[in-house]
């Protein structure tokens, strides 16, 4: 069968089972947009290529399937660099297809030319410039294989215009992948797994340190089994919220710089950390030298380079989290019939910390119904007014931390955020991608006013495509997290962080983009407005909450300090230093 390169591209995407892609056409990618008309693949026309990338990520987070973005050359390719880097840092399976100037023009500084593979090399798991139309099916197949296996990540395929226009002979879908240098090891070493079971059986103060790898490996069920059979408590990192249900009695919540006291301190005092798909990120460890000083480490990761990168494990296990945990469950059961030592003192200590140091803020009392609006209160109301399986996407900053702290994640794949790269503006497009992938679910984006201004234009996409996401802007008129640092660490010298509460007018702006929009200024309006927003299901809806700008995120481990130096709350008397 004779096909053009462009037809071969779209057919290859169909063969990969792609149901939707996010993109924006332009000169070099034009040939690929013609066969889209005849393809069953849904194309969502974004307003900015960064939006396409984050939508692809949101889709991948919510569904586990690779997100696909299709954009043109030059500025479109550079606009998608941020989402690629975001996906790389958070191990999100994604395939980006970029147009390129004709192969004969490459290297001549042609119109809309840029060295896309050169620019994206360090932010992709792999990338490939296609120089022969005949290679398209193979390279697309390899791209999806690489993006979705091993440690998932973004793959970029760069397609010169003449390659898209050339004809090729479509023989058959490549039956096998031939990548001699790529063979991810998914099965953990049996001896190491036995060693791990032994360490677990010896430990008195163990903590399971669950990371995003649990979700990527679809290992939430295996994790629950391991935790329940051993009775070991679980912390879920920012990337793993929902991987273990918050309502579970063994769940300690989020550790790290803004983690709760119990999650942070239990890791500090542990004699064993069972790190499952987590990577000892600096936001979790604080000062590495002072992190969990007495703990032995079992570290399970599909990426061998993570083992020993930050902290040398006593038992390193390279493998897929689900497979390894399932084997570990068997190994634990086989050792002395699964007998575990008495850890009641440890659990009692943990319960005491939970009792002494819960998350706290000044909840509005009924007589303060028209007082300042606390962002945490908004999130608690939102949490209690949405279904259990509601998907929450977040931007980056204070609102992200409050959302992670105050939401209750009881299901995997209900929390979508930018953890590693910390990309402001992530939430709106990510929520759109998630809603496209999971139209059956309610999807809320929680955003800050700073974040919202970075990618709000994608609400036009959502309106045009009838993608009814819901957005809660926590508008504190500041770049709040920066403000918090300037208040705490720069003697309240506020430099370039003020944004204004009413410039822009978020309600008018949202309405102009085709959304239903509300503004909430006082606690007594919160519930009724959320209820109204939840009833809108034919278009996007935005609520602007005017929140208290003096509110800060606590607890906090100041940057560069040990996790032992956790600051629990804002009042000096409440600060805890050990």
């Amino acid at each position: 069968m004779r096909l053009t390169g462009a037809q071969a591209l779209i057919k290859s995407l169909e063969m990969e089972g792609v149901e939707v892609m996010f993109g924006l056409p332009g000169g070099a990618i034009l040939p690929a947009y013609d066969p889209i008309i005849d393809s069953p693949i849904r194309h969502i026309l974004v307003r900015h290529e960064q939006g396409a990338g984050h939508m692809a990520e949101g889709y991948a987070h919510a569904t586990g399937r690779p997100g696909v973005a299709l954009v043109t050359s030059g500025p479109a390719a550079t606009n998608i660099v941020t989402p690629l880097c975001d996906a790389y840092m958070d191990s999100v399976p994604m395939v980006a297809i970029t147009g390129q100037v004709p192969s004969t023009a490459i290297g001549t500084d042609a119109f809309q030319e840029c060295d896309t593979v050169g620019i994206t090399r360090s932010v992709t798991k792999h990338n490939e410039l296609v120089m022969d139309a005949q290679d398209i099916p193979r390279i697309i197949r390899e791209a999806f294989h690489i993006a979705t296996t091993g440690r998932p990540g973004p793959v970029l395929v760069d397609l010169p215009k003449d390659v898209l226009q050339a004809t090729m002979e479509w023989h058959e879908w490549p039956p096998a992948i031939d990548l001699p240098g790529y063979k991810p090891n998914t099965k953990g070493h049996p001896r190491m797994i036995k060693e791990a079971a032994k360490l677990i059986a010896e430990s008195r103060r163990p903590v399971i340190y669950a990371g995003g790898g649990i979700l990527k490996a679809r290992a939430a069920e295996a994790l629950r089994q391991l935790a329940e059979m051993t009775g070991i408590p679980v912390v879920t990192t920012l990337m793993a919220r929902g991987a273990f249900p918050d309502r579970h009695e063994l769940c300690l919540g989020m550790p790290g710089m803004h983690g709760n006291y119990t999650a942070v301190t239990s890791m500090q005092k542990a004699d064993l950390l069972i790190a499952l798909g987590s990577r000892f990120d600096d936001r979790v460890t604080g000062k590495v030298g002072g992190f969990a000083p007495e703990a032995k480490i079992i570290h399970v990761d599909i990426d061998p380079a993570e083992l020993g990168k930050v902290r040398r494990p006593d038992v390193p296990i390279v493998g897929d989290c689900r497979q390894v945990i399932e084997e570990l469950v068997k190994a634990v059961a086989a050792l002395d019939e699964g007998a575990q030592p008495d850890r009641s003192a440890w659990m009692a200590q943990i319960r005491q910390w939970q009792k002494d140091f819960p998350l706290q803020y000044d909840r509005p009392s009924p007589d303060q119904a028209d007082g300042p609006l606390k962002p945490q209160y908004v999130l608690e109301c939102l949490r209690d007014s949405t279904p259990d399986d509601c998907i929450l996407a977040s931007g980056v900053g204070q609102h992200q931390m409050w959302a992670s702290q105050y939401w209750q994640f009881d299901h995997p794949y209900t929390w979508i955020n930018s953890g590693g790269l910390g990309t402001m503006g992530f939430s709106v497009p990510a929520a759109i991608g998630a809603k496209v992938g999971r139209p059956d679910r309610m999807v809320w984006a929680v955003d800050g006013d700073g974040c919202f201004q970075m990618t709000a234009q994608e609400l036009v996409t959502a309106s045009a495509e009838r993608i009814p996401i819901k957005v809660a802007i926590l508008n504190n008129a500041y770049l709040g997290m920066v403000r918090q640092w300037q208040e705490m660490f720069y003697d309240e010298r506020y430099s370039e962080v003020y944004l204004s509460p009413d410039l822009p007018d978020y309600v008018k702006w949202s309405e102009a983009m085709g959304c239903v929009a509300f503004r909430v200024e006082h606690p007594d309006e919160v519930q009724a407005t959320i209820d109204k927003a939840n009833e809108v299901d034919d278009r996007p809806v935005v609520i602007e909450f005017r929140t208290d700008s003096s509110e800060k995120v606590f607890p906090m481990v100041p940057a560069g300090l040990s996790n032992d130096d956790i600051v629990v709350g804002p009042t000096p008397g409440r600060e805890v230093r050990q």
Binding site: V117, R121, S122, K125, G181, Y182, A305
Partner: protein, 178 residues
């Protein structure tokens, strides 16, 4: 270039088999740059199998632990195999081209030293000689030191290439990194 080439134990030799594809060298070099690893020297050439090229890269382990370097390298899709060669258990060679000042008065002195080291004179001018010398990196270092006294005009070294020694114990001494 330091006179200590090859002698400092912070330098390790990695032999990296890569797919012979466009941009692979840029991937390897980019990885080193991004992760803050230092390349001391690098030599690249096709192998007997045209699908693959072999990189011999001497890395500075001061900048990062060798294990992290090899693990990150192996994550590159086009990297097929990495072998670490212990300097004591491998054969290493390097080629040098050097132009050294040698007027009529000192020419014979230079030629004598070239002969002692087993080098060759490949070009002769009125005031200078160009010499080629292939050998162990350490011998090249020694020769370079001696020539300084005469005045080195230009110097090029290829970076080392290496293969494991054909010792009876060879298989055990080659640490397969991946």
């Amino acid at each position: 270039m330091s006179a200590l080439v090859g002698s400092a134990n912070r330098h390790h030799t990695l032999v990296v088999l890569v797919e012979n594809k466009a941009g692979v060298l840029a991937r390897v070099a980019g990885l080193f740059a991004r992760r803050g690893f230092n390349i001391y020297s690098l030599a690249v050439a096709p192998t007997d199998d045209e699908r693959f090229s072999r990189l011999t890269v001497v890395v500075d382990v001061e900048s990062a632990p060798l294990e992290q370097i090899t693990k990150q390298l192996f994550k590159l899709i086009n990297v097929v195999k990495i072998t670490e060669l212990d300097q004591a258990e491998s054969v290493e060679r390097e080629l040098m081209l050097m132009t050294v000042r040698a007027d009529a008065g000192r020419r014979s002195e230079v030629i004598e030293l070239v002969n002692v080291f087993g080098g060759k004179i490949v070009d002769v001018g009125h005031e200078a000689l160009t010499i080629t010398l292939a050998g162990k990196p350490r011998n090249l270092d020694d020769f370079e030191e001696l020539m300084r006294a005469f005045g080195i005009v230009e110097l090029q070294r290829t970076g080392r290439v290496a293969l494991p020694q054909l010792d009876r114990r060879a298989p055990a001494q080659i640490r397969k990194v991946s």
